[in-house]
Amino acid sequence: MQDREEVMENVTTHEEWKTIFSTLAPGLVLYARQWVRSHTDAEDIVQDAFVKFWRRHHKIDNRPLLYATVRSVALDLIRRDSRRARREVEAFAGAPQSIEPQFRAEDESQRSLAFALDRLPHEQREVVVMKVWNELTFAEIGEAIGISQNTAASRYRYALAALKKNLQPQ
């Protein structure tokens, strides 16, 4: 975590941008997966968003803006493709939120956790993904998705409570 922040503070060269991207890419792709069902689509979104972010000369440490860009590109992709949008709406209404796995589950407990995470409401899952796997603060999450810091923290708490409840032995 510390290394990551230190690197992000002093990005100036293109090589460093590439290094940063390789560091952030897993979390960014996972974040993009909240809107699309396939890993390939998520990668396309991340590529598009990251290159746009870079071309607009934003500072890499402006993480809320980077995630807001990914979010914007993902939503725009859905809006542009009506067939995809219909499919996404249907998928959102259904129980499982993803088709391809988002995590490399090593045992049954991790598979259960991933499944429980998938069943969270979208707004809660989005905050959990940003907080746990992208290491954003609640203030950054709030700025990225346009909610208050307290709302982001509340959604996170609700999500963890729901996960804990789902994973408790009956």
């Binding site: 100036t12 293109h14 941008w17 590439k18 991207f21 390789s22 890419a25 897993p26 979390g27 792709v29 996972l30 890993h39 990668e43 991340v46 590529q47 968003a49 990251f50 290159v51 746009k52 972010f53 870079w54 071309r55 607009r56 000369h57 934003h58 500072k59 402006n62 803006l65 807001a68 860009t69 914007s72 590109v73 939503l75 725009d76 391809e100 796995p101 988002q102 995590f103 490399r104 589950a105 407990s109 991790q110 956790l113 991933a114 995470l117 959990v128 746990v132 796997w133 700025e143 708490r157 963890l160 409570a161 996960l163 804990k164 994973l167």
Partner: protein, 189 residues
């Protein structure tokens, strides 16, 4: 939040699916191929000029800054600088060669000193007001001359007269009460 430490630890153990090598290659290639569009000097200057924290809808391709738009911006800046330089040159020329009409205009303008006379004569009527603050109908009167009935209305007023000295800006105001009686013929129709 301490109640959730265990579940948070479990979540952190979950490893996201790693992005493909193709994604990293594609982004690296994009950065390499588009790098000339990001001249370091211009980049830093543009970044500094952008409002901090401004969130732009980056999803719209039209809003992405492309290399050709940088050229357009440079052209605009050049035209603007040329226009500014031209204005400065013309301004300098006008400053060096003042218009010969200026003294004539100054000479033709009336001299305020020439109008000065005695201070009393400077006071000119500036206004008059008449405020009716009470009116009373005193009833009908029958005049012996006309034989027609007339209504007598008595009014109390406050009249004010004002003079102003244009040269000094001084003003004089006289205010006094007055009473007015009107005889208004009453028509029988």
């Amino acid at each position: 939040m301490s109640d959730f430490v265990e579940i948070e630890d479990e979540l952190k153990k979950l490893q996201p699916v790693q992005p493909s090598d193709g994604l990293l290659d594609r982004v690296e290639n994009a950065i390499d191929s588009l790098a000339p569009a990001r001249s370091p000097g211009w980049a830093s200057r543009l970044r500094r000029s952008a409002p901090a924290g401004s969130v732009v809808d980056l999803a719209e391709d039209e809003k992405v800054i492309r290399p050709d738009r940088f050229r357009i911006n440079l052209l605009s800046v050049g035209i603007g600088l040329a226009a500014a330089a031209s204005l400065l040159i013309f301004a300098r020329l006008q400053f060096d060669n003042p218009s010969p009409r200026q003294p004539q205009i100054a000479a033709n303008s009336p001299a305020p000193v020439a109008r000065s006379t005695s201070p009393i004569s400077e006071f000119l009527p500036a206004g008059a007001t008449q405020v009716v603050y009470h009116t009373r109908d005193e009833g009908l009167l029958y005049s012996a001359e006309s034989g027609e009935p007339m209504r007598r209305v008595r009014s109390r007023l406050q009249e004010s007269l004002q003079w102003r000295n244009a040269a000094t800006g001084a003003s004089l105001r006289v205010s006094y009460p007055s009473e007015q009686v009107e005889l208004i013929p009453v028509s029988g129709q």
